[in-house]
């Protein structure tokens, strides 16, 4: 599963970092940074949860 982050949409709420710190970080401006683009099936649930919780809708799951 692939995930994507739109840094223009991000409001820096940090929900992704709290939910899935292995996949998401914030830069010095508080804006989302993807740590990985490919999520293994075992980690898909936590990544999906981070995507669902993102307040600004900046995160997406790219089903492939």
């Amino acid at each position: 599963m692939k995930i994507a982050a739109d840094r223009d949409t991000c409001i820096g709420a940090g929900m992704c970092v709290l939910t899935a710190p292995a996949f998401f970080d914030q830069d010095d401006d508080g804006i989302v940074q993807l740590l990985v683009e490919d999520v293994s099936p075992g980690d898909a649930d936590v990544a999906r949860q981070a995507v669902a919780l993102c307040p600004s809708g900046a995160l997406r799951v790219l089903d492939d």
Partner: protein, 401 residues
């Protein structure tokens, strides 16, 4: 004395719970029209979890910026220029991209990493407050000795507001948020708040410190008007102390009424994070957030809402929607309640949420460990719920240990 106004449906509670009528509205029609406290025509009240999330996540069709204050019949009258000045810097009064511009100046201050750096100082502040309570002896009022001073001192240090001024600004915030106070007087408080903050901003412009007001002046001084600086700082001061404070007071009472869950928060560090989230959901201290105005005709829960109408949200009803969470009326800290809308959703999702979480994650277990036998020092039916506050909470919480 004027009589307190009737509470709008979205503010009515039975202790911790949204009233039956609100629950019935959610489970039957989903949307109902209600009078508001803002004057003007009735608003459309949205109550279901999915609908509330939809409104909050769509800043195009549901605008904050178009929600303008109605001139109150009991005054004072504001000129258009004065209203614009009062609105400047108030992030909640703007839509993207104007909102984005302001919010992005502040996001670096509230990152998860930045909060971790603040943690040791928050621990010190919490411990000092607990020392004071212990020294003064039992019984104590938890609101005035802990729930209020801890977040107040934290936000004062962060912003660069003298803590010595707290009595003054806490009293003003109290009047501002008390909906039983006539609108005339509440609007006057807005003016007083701005005058106070203008003095602080002027001082900081002469010598910007290492705090948030100083940062805004140093890094964004060319881009921010004087009125915007005042607006941002005023919003952060009010939002920073009143909300977390009410969560600490009300949350402690909720735990005292659920002793088995209180024991988990006290004894198991892994339960603290989930407990904070479930308390946020179950208490939903922000009744409704900021009203939105429709920019086009919309349909919610089968109801057609024309363009230009006021939309108000019932956050406690949404957070206890059985379509969102099983057995929603039960406090169950084990579930952690991811996805609650206590901090809102969408682009206006609470800026200070990471700070509020950090403060609560430190304060609740520290309080319960310091006083393992913490108990209510008043009869159960004499607890003083702050019914008329725009943010739900307790006026006082007598405790012993």
């Amino acid at each position: 004395m004027t009589e307190a106004p009737a509470l709008p449906l979205y503010m009515q509670r039975e202790q911790f719970d949204p009233v039956d009528e609100l629950v019935q509205t959610r489970d039957n029609d989903g949307v109902t029209r209600v009078p508001t406290l803002f004057g003007g025509p009735p608003a459309y009240l949205v109550t279901r979890y999915e609908d509330v999330r939809e409104v909050l996540s769509d800043a195009v069709r549901f605008s904050n910026a178009r929600t303008r204050p109605f001139q109150q019949p009991d005054g004072p009258h504001f000129t258009d220029e004065e209203l614009e000045q009062m609105r400047a810097g108030q992030m909640l009064a703007f839509d993207p991209p104007d909102h984005t511009r302001l919010r992005r100046m502040l996001t670096p201050e509230f990152t998860v990493r930045r909060m971790r750096r603040l943690e040791p100082r928050i621990v010190e502040i919490v411990d000092a407050a607990l020392d004071d309570i212990e020294r003064a002896g039992k019984p104590a009022d938890l609101v005035s000795t802990f729930a209020m001073p801890v977040p107040s001192l934290v936000i004062c240090e962060l912003l660069g507001v003298p803590y010595a001024d707290r009595a003054e600004f806490q009293e003003r915030t109290g009047r501002l948020l008390d909906v039983s106070v006539p609108m005339r007087e509440r609007m006057a408080v807005v003016r007083e708040n701005r005058a106070y903050m203008a003095r602080l901003v002027d001082g900081a412009m002469a010598a910007p410190g290492e705090d948030m007001i100083g940062m805004l002046i140093r890094e964004h001084g060319d881009d921010l008007s004087h009125h915007e600086l005042i607006g941002i700082a005023s919003l952060l001061l009010v939002a920073g102390h009143e909300t977390t404070s009410n969560m600490l007071g009300l949350g402690t009472l909720a735990l005292l009424r659920h002793p088995d869950q209180l024991a988990l928060v006290r004894d198991d560090p892994a339960m603290v994070g989930p407990a904070v989230e479930e308390l946020l959901r179950w208490l939903s201290i922000v009744h409704s957030g900021v009203p939105r105005t429709t920019t086009t005709e919309v349909e919610i829960a089968g109801h057609t809402i024309p363009a230009g109408e006021l939309v108000v949200l019932a956050l406690p009803a949404a957070n206890r929607d059985p379509a969102f969470i099983t057995d929603p009326g039960r406090l169950d800290i084990n579930r952690g309640a991811p996805g609650h809308v206590a901090f809102g959703h969408g682009v206006h999702h609470c800026l200070g949420a990471p700070l509020a979480r950090m403060e609560m994650r430190i304060a609740f277990p520290a309080l319960l460990r310091r006083f393992p036998n913490l108990a209510l020092a008043a009869p159960d039916d004499e607890v003083d719920f702050h019914t008329y506050n725009a943010i739900y909470g307790l006026r006082s919480l007598p405790i012993t240990w």
